[in-house]
Subunit: 254 residues, 2 copies
DNA sequence: AGTACATTGCGTCATAATAACACATTTAAA
DNA sequence: TTTAAATGTGTTATTATGACGCAATGTACT
């Protein structure tokens, strides 16, 4: 932090006051659903990557910037899911000591001390295509298994939980693998992705039938190599049909 | 407006800057899905009821206040669904002329002229229990059929559409009638509610079977009186089971 | 009073989706 | 060569869904 944050505080008239963005960036690797977390060295707790909103940018655009800053990619699945604004949510986060440390004027510093409402976005990214990028030299950026996320700052744990909850619901409304898996993948991998998100075992054969019937998969004439046991077939998504289902939704219900 | 808005502007340090709340309040009557809209006389366009966020209130609490101000009820279904923050969303809404009219100092007035990000909430209320209440003497509050909503200010039409879209999706995830219908209701009424929200005809007999199987209805030993044709049976919700389904969700999907 | 008509209540039947499970095949490792 | 673990491809019973049929009820009209 520091230089960048100091710049923002001193030019706070260029940013939307009292409003921030936090991103829950999901990736899938080693059969684990991972979350990209950051740590500012000075601080002992991990947090979600976030940022402020330039007054001349749409909030969605600002969210893309946050994502892009940390992952170096864009054109990815990024979706707003909730806004958090409890009165005390960022009490005791930044205080006078921080402002003193940053050497900003008291008047300017007040901008940072008030209640910040934060808009939560979640992103689905291809783990292998991302190189976690600290946005400055003191920042640590890491993928952490969602089951082993340590204590986070402020209400970030609540934000993460809500994102995961949203993801679970969306799983019933749309396909999601395209954003989280590599170009080619196996059926067990896709199933494991679903199982990990839902935290629930699924029957292998029933899963195959159901996911196949959606009509978004292409079975490739190729098997995964260098694997223990029988080599599983490779699949890829039929992007055109995938997008169609994304648009129209899965379960019509009524 | 006016007195109240002027007060807010002059005491803007008591409100979250650049942030507002807009409520899409749904009611059901005469087989129509209605939306509660307001009109400030000076202005020719209708708008969603909204408000600002006191710095010492949670955003959810502020939303309850907005709802309560216009309907006089609380303890109702109220849910945040999205946050809107395009850069130009409130350009040309309030301008210098308004501030002049309100006779507020220019410095204070600037608070109102910047981009406001608005948090959208939607509410489901029992039409008959609500008495639309103007929050001041110049305000007009009215129920308007969602199919006949005229042009609205700013991006309020977009906000309304998004709320309706969310409601349609939620219909597949949870039951909703409890909040929109009176204590006792008929099966055709409940079905019409679903048809109106979904904008789609449903088969009467299949609807009965499906809604009954959810297990949230109590068939009363009573028929609706004063109706043309055969008197339909009355139903009410089994609140305990209803809440259980609300919590656990309808379609498990996977 | 008698009849037409709209609406309700309670079904059926064919088809599709889902849950539970069986068995042969492939491959690495013992 | 055998074993164990995983994959590929089924079957069967049950349940859910979509598309209808028909008698009963009550209003409105002649």
């Amino acid at each position: 932090m520091s230089k960048m944050l100091k710049d923002i505080i001193e030019n706070n008239q260029n940013y939307q006051p009292g409003l921030s963005i936090d991103c829950v960036i999901f990736g899938f690797h080693d059969n684990q659903l991972k979350v990209l977390l950051i740590k500012v060295q000075r601080n002992s707790k991990w947090s979600l990557p976030g940022g402020f909103i330039p007054i001349d940018e749409d909030i969605d655009t600002a969210a893309v910037t946050v994502l892009n800053d940390r992952t170096g990619v864009d054109g990815i699945f990024l979706r707003q899911f909730a806004t958090f604004g409890k009165v005390n949510r960022n009490d005791q986060h930044f205080d006078e000591k921080v402002l003193e440390y940053l050497q900003v004027e008291e008047a300017k510093g007040k901008w940072l001390l008030r209640r910040f409402v934060t808009i939560g976005y979640y992103a689905l990214v291809d783990f292998l295509k991302i190189i976690p990028k600290p946005s400055n030299e003191n920042e640590i950026v890491e993928w952490i298994d969602h089951k082993e996320v340590p204590e986070l700052i402020l209400d970030h744990k609540e934000i993460l939980e809500k994102a995961l909850d949203t993801l679970r619901t969306e799983l019933n409304l749309m396909p999601i693998g395209y954003n989280l898996l590599p170009e080619k993948f196996t059926m067990p991998e896709l199933q494991k992705l679903y199982e990990t998100i839902l935290d629930k075992k699924l029957d292998r054969r029933n899963f195959l039938r159901k996911i196949t019937n959606i009509g978004i998969l292409k079975k490739l004439d190729e098997k995964k190599s260098n694997v223990a046991h029988k080599a599983p077939n490779l699949y890829s998504f039929d992007k055109e049909k995938y997008d169609e289902v994304l648009k129209n939704g899965l379960n019509q219900g009524w």
